[in-house]
């Protein structure tokens, strides 16, 4: 029985890979129930006034794209179905805007969104929280050029949104995996205003962010891969997050099983 405590880690790796491969090719099709939190988040975006301008900040890098890409895709679809104007960009997460650019371009074409009028990408700007403070009072001055390096002040959407204040934007949607992230947007842009703050979090950050959801400072949260799957169902666009739930399930079960086995070995050894 003591052997159960000393299972070779390579065996764990092998079983993990095998289970991932099996569930990709032979999905279990487990149903994913939609949680009240996902519905609250969906409604918060859905109930924004018509023609609202929303700022979407993909504050992540490819490491978190597995969890956050499906959320970004679902949010983009929801916003474009509601005809919201979209300002897309971030500060300090250079690869996040590259990922988002690849994602928004085909979706915008699908909805006949015109660049510069219906949506704009300001790219990634250095400075973090300090950049946000500058953008709050002068967006064009802080961004200077867009994702394609063209002067951003020439675009009608930026002319219509001179500052990141409640007079011009209705919501900030942050896909968050670190610092700077949703907390900086809260502290600098949305706190004390009517601007809604909706976040998409990687599972690891959910425990911390849950406090801000309960206090009402975050108006909604898409929580981890499971949250992404729930959101895809709400938007009616099933995608990668929903597909990944079977894999999530078997890996969680496998880890739980190995933990139990390890503890059986531990308890019997003590006796």
């Amino acid at each position: 029985m003591e052997r159960l405590m000393k299972i070779d880690r390579r065996l764990l790796y092998l079983v993990s890979v095998a289970l991932v491969a099996v569930t990709i090719f032979m999905p279990l099709g487990l149903p994913v129930k939609v949680s009240p939190l996902a519905v609250q988040t969906y409604d918060a975006i859905k109930n924004l006034p018509d023609d609202s301008v929303v700022l979407i900040a993909p504050m992540y890098d490819p490491g978190a794209s597995g969890e956050l890409n499906p959320m970004l895709r679902a949010i983009l679809y929801q916003c474009m179905e509601r005809n919201y104007k979209i300002i897309l960009g971030n500060t300090n997460w250079t690869l996040g805007v590259a990922i988002a650019h690849d994602m928004i371009t085909p979706i915008a074409a699908e909805f006949n969104y015109v660049y510069g009028t219906d949506y704009i990408e300001f790219g990634s700007k250095p400075g973090g929280a300090v950049w946000m403070q500058s953008a709050k009072t002068d967006l064009a001055g802080a961004a200077i050029v867009d994702y394609n390096n063209d002067p951003i002040g020439q675009f009608p959407l930026i002319q219509a949104v001179p500052t990141l204040t409640q007079e011009y934007i209705a919501a900030v949607l942050v896909l968050d995996c670190g610092t700077p992230g949703a907390l900086e947007w809260l502290q600098i842009i949305t706190q004390g205003t009517s601007i809604k703050l909706i976040v998409g979090e990687i599972q690891m950050s959910v425990p911390d962010s849950m406090t801000y959801v309960q206090s009402g400072q975050y108006n909604g949260m898409i929580a981890g891969s499971r949250g992404g799957a729930e959101y895809e169902q709400l938007v009616g666009r099933p995608g990668a997050a929903l597909k990944s739930q079977d894999t999530m399930s078997v890996i969680a079960l496998m880890v739980a099983l190995f933990i139990v086995l390890g503890n059986i070995g531990y308890v019997t050894r003590k006796r």
Binding site: T211, Q245, Y266
Partner: protein, 209 residues
């Protein structure tokens, strides 16, 4: 003046921030604007300084043939080649952008993917019911882990979601709020000490006074 100068600058800067955050006149005059610009400029200078510092350190490694000196050569080659390319092509240059997106993206994703295997292995080895507290932690972790995946619903039905939600929304939030409040109060106290010149570690002092 080597120590007094930075301290005076720190006090003035912090007073400007406090005045422009908490006072109506400070907000009206937008005193933060020039300070933000200075920060961005200082940030760029610090980056250049870091670049020089990194070069000096790794040139020394190569000269002394320290263990892994070959990697220092790769680092310097990549760093300077990319700098030159960036200066020629500018920020959105075709090759400059291509290299960053197509090398950094897969490397970053690979690093994060490896974590999944380490977490699996670490969870198996670390979660042992050594004490009562460890047992409570283990049970909560199992419920949350399975409750956050559809398999939890399949095994326990709606009870799984309820337990998972209660652990995350009640127990976790209570703990996290306590931690966050502690951090906030600690941060405020440290800021006050820096403003009053009692904390000097950032200017190369002995730390506290």
């Amino acid at each position: 003046m080597r120590k007094e100068g930075p301290m005076i600058l720190t006090v003035i800067s912090s007073l400007v921030v406090v005045f422009s955050t908490y006072f109506f006149l400070g907000q009206k005059w937008n005193l933060m604007e020039p300070l933000n610009n200075w920060f961005q400029i200082s940030y760029a200078i610090a980056l250049a300084l870091g670049f020089v510092n990194l070069s000096v350190i790794h040139v020394k490694y190569i000269q002394r043939k320290r263990e892994g000196w070959f990697y220092s050569i790769i680092l310097l080659l990549c760093m300077y080649a990319y700098l030159v390319l960036g200066m020629i092509e500018t920020q959105n240059g075709l090759h400059f952008d291509w290299i960053y997106v197509n090398m950094m993206s897969p490397l970053s994703a690979t690093m994060f993917s490896l974590v999944a295997f380490f977490i699996t292995s670490a969870a198996y080895r670390a979660f042992r019911i050594r004490t009562k507290e460890a047992t409570i932690l283990l049970v909560c972790a199992l419920f949350v882990m399975l409750g956050r995946a559809p398999i939890g619903d399949a095994i326990w039905g709606s009870w799984s979601a309820f337990v998972s939600k209660w652990v995350m929304g009640t127990m976790n939030v209570a703990g996290m709020r306590g931690i966050n409040l502690g951090i906030a109060v600690g941060g405020f106290a440290t800021a006050l000490r820096i403003m009053l010149g009692l904390e000097r570690a950032h200017i190369g002092g002995s730390g506290t006074q």
